[in-house]
Amino acid sequence: MNLALFVWRQKSPADSGGLQQYEARDISPDMSFLEMLDVVNEDLIKKGIEPIAFDHDCREGICGMCSQVINGTAHGPQEKTTVCQLHMRNFKDGDTIYIEPWRAKAFPVIKDLVVDRGALDRIIQSGGYVSVSTGGVPDANAILIPKADSDRAMDAAECIGCGACVAACPNGSAMLFVSAKVAHLALLPQGCVEAARRVCVMTETMMKEGFGNCSNHYECQAACPKGIKVSFIAKLNREFIKSLAKPSEAL
């Protein structure tokens, strides 16, 4: 199949950038979206044009590196699928495809489709952890956790930190990302000890990093390749309300 691509090209963070048109020829429907871009890049290299820069790593849908907005949808048209696991059979011969980087103030473009998602790491560094004194490895199941709680915590822990929620959010908010970590740890006995501090610090860091406020558009849930639900944001909201009972010094 042959496709017309409009790809965001931007030489450097300071460059203003713009959409460039390219052709993708003889694309197999069994290729992944990134393999299609590999083919296009081979062609560009042959022509002496700088290849399109894009983030990728595992190409199995688990690392959270790939980050492209395809025809206005983060990670493209297939539900709960990362770009690397999106196959060209989802497109038709002759289609026009717009490929853009994640857009948010907190995600500055480094080059073409590559953005700096360090802000998400800094949110995690601020509170997305459990303080554990070092020592011997505890026995498995030494702390009993109800099955329902552990299942729900694992649902939240599925977040791969790709940032699609931020890309899809009209407000550029990272609330789904933050709520996944807050809910994951608050649901477990090891994490609930620091739950109040965590929710306050992580949301504060989120705002300092330039993300927007959540206004419940629910676009994030639709874009999430791991199916993280906005019910975790409601959980985060409850954790915040509970934290109000504690004085700031205690956090």
Partner: protein
């Protein structure tokens, strides 16, 4: 205070002040329905014979409104700044017309509120009825005898409908008063409540204009 500084805290304030304002909107409509029973003038007289109630209520509403408008504006400005560059192609999946235009429907409601207060509250009741009570009913019928005025009212109530259809369900999510199982019910109820309020509020000027209420 974390409630006023945190992004989640401010969201809670938006939800709580919004719910207080919704409670007012419901009570105001129930009061308005006395137009149909012919008891509007006695209702108004009784209400204003309780100045403590009226003024404490007004102050609470003013506080809720101030919070809601102030944080609504700040949050909108922050959110725009957080998304400086738009996509060449946008395709929203879950966001609705209502959720994307809260600031505009909200501004329309605020402008309407000012107009409504000038028209019916600040100007005072001009006439007296047969029992020499302030003739609120006559003032209302007189006010809604003009087509442009009725159109402004129906348009503003439409803005209120959109604002509440997102606002009601959003407030439950924000306050965490929901679950995955309850959310579809909350979302449907929010639309139904908004529709009922729309029907109730717009019926009064429309029926008066059509001469059904005299």
């Amino acid at each position: 205070m974390r409630l006023f500084s945190s992004t989640v805290g401010r969201k809670n304030l938006m939800a709580l002040s919004g719910q207080a304002l919704i409670a007012f909107v419901v009570m105001h409509l129930l009061g308005n329905f006395t137009v149909y029973s012919g008891a509007l003038n006695s209702y108004a007289e009784r209400l204003h014979s309780l100045p403590l109630l009226v003024w404490s209520f007004r102050l609470i509403m003013l506080a809720a409104l101030t919070l809601h408008v102030f944080y609504g504006a700040i949050i909108t400005l922050e959110n725009r700044a957080a998304k400086p560059q738009a996509y060449a192609v946008t395709k929203t999946q879950k966001a609705t017309f209502a959720s994307k235009n809260m600031i505009w429907t909200g501004s329309a409601i605020a402008a309407f509120l000012l107009y409504h207060l000038i028209q019916f509250t600040f100007s005072g009741v001009p006439g007296r009825d047969l029992f020499s009570r302030p003739d609120v009913f006559g003032m209302v019928v007189q006010g809604f005898s003009s087509l442009p005025v009725v159109l402004v009212y129906v348009a503003s109530i439409t803005a209120l409908f959109y604002h509440l259809s997102h606002g009601i369900q959003s407030s439950f999510q924000t306050l965490g008063l929901n679950s995955e199982a309850a959310m579809p019910f909350i979302m449907k109820s929010a639309v139904i409540i908004s529709l009922v309020l729309f029907g109730g509020y717009s019926s009064i000027p429309l029926f008066i204009l059509l001469g059904a209420v005299r």
